[in-house]
Symmetry: C2
Subunit: 239 residues, 2 copies
């Protein structure tokens, strides 16, 4: 069943007017008809089944049933990622959504090649929001990851999290086992910061010295691959 | 240090003539000079350090030192993947190499959209081989994954492996924990088969009924994402 997100509060028997975008998707992409059913996730991440009543300028659906679904990672996970070149960030956002990230914060890395002014940021953000919404629908999530541009790595507060990791490959020894060990059962809010293609600057590593440095396996992962390894590890560990 | 693969047997003090392609990379991309050092991995996955002696039509390097390196997954892992649309397979091959796959077998899925004739397969294979070689060098692997077109899923022999998984999302209950449980310490050779965008056909699922069905977490992963989750899980479990 196709899943759609709504910003509204939903209760059984409600009549929901679908957004213009979802109406387009239901009519023209999915070619749905009256009485077809869809899944709706409301603003509190509650899942419902709804049936199409009318198809017009906007599709209207009647909420018929509540559903229980456990598709969210049991740890609330935040990724701090830099702007990456080409379409790598698009791709990373899609995959990180599939794999369960809850918040994605875009920070300004010292060595990032891509730099955006305020206007471009706003335009990009709209594009990114579309990517994560579609990925959340397709992967059957209950949450659309939040997206935000934050400052540079040196201005981050890391104590909002039970554990804040820094994915840093220049670690000696048996470091990848440490990630496994550091993913303890008491953690509820986890964050990890990932470097750009050129890696972290010394100033960034200095300013993040209270973070838990982890190596993600013994191979060198590209900037866009490391977050996916991290999220997969959380799934294997906690789900 | 830049890493290159050679098809030769290497010993200390050998003088190695680099291939045309590597020569181009060393001269024109890396702009290397005489006395610069590189890493060389030989046909037995042994790692050496070598120093450039002469730069000419071909670069010649002198092997000066053997190195020990543990960048390979301790389980020999084979992925069976279908042809995917667009550039998704290119991307999957690059990421699966970063994450440690040793053999990648391309099978003809019943529901795969992409179909190739023999000539196109040979051309694709050359392209794919370039992708995995470059990814193996960049991620500092000791092995370049092998690539092969095999028949359809119904003709596969699954008993060449200690455990053969089928990534099949239509499993009820607590299935993702099962992957964790099924990754036991005695396994040396593991394989997993992944479906195309449209999923496995019933005939394929039937013919693979002796395989271990696993779900890769509670979210629906796209065809190109599932193998990366699987490889990351192996790394967390065994490395």
């Amino acid at each position: 069943m196709q899943r759609y997100f709504t910003a509204q509060d939903v209760e059984i028997d409600d009549l929901i007017v679908m957004s213009q975008e979802d109406t387009h998707h239901m009519k023209n992409v999915m070619r749905m008809a009256t009485d077809d059913t869809i899944e709706i996730v409301d603003n509190k991440s509650q899942l419902f089944v709804a049936k199409i009543e009318t198809i017009d300028e906007r599709v209207r659906v009647r909420v018929i049933e509540a559903r229980v679904d456990k598709s969210e990672l049991p740890v609330e996970t935040t990724l701090f990622v830099p702007l990456l070149k080409g379409d790598k960030l698009d791709w990373l956002l899609q995959k990180a959504t599939e794999l369960g990230a809850v918040h994605i914060k875009l920070y300004e890395a010292d060595r990032a090649v891509v730099k955006l002014d305020q206007k471009k940021k706003e335009k990009k953000l709209q594009r990114f929001e579309k990517i994560v919404k579609e990925a959340a629908e397709q992967s059957k999530r209950l949450k659309v990851p939040s997206l935000k541009f934050v400052g540079n790595a040196k201005s981050l507060t890391i104590d909002d999290y039970d554990r804040f990791f820094i994915a840093y490959e220049r670690l000696s020894g048996d470091a990848s086992k440490q990630l496994n060990r550091m993913l303890t059962d008491d953690l509820k809010r986890i964050a990890c910061i990932f470097g750009p293609e050129g890696g972290f600057s010394n100033a960034e590593v200095e300013s993040l010295h209270d973070a838990n440095a982890v190596r993600l396996g013994p191979r060198i992962l590209r900037a866009e691959t490391a977050p996916l390894y991290f999220l997969s590890a959380l799934s294997i560990k906690y789900e």
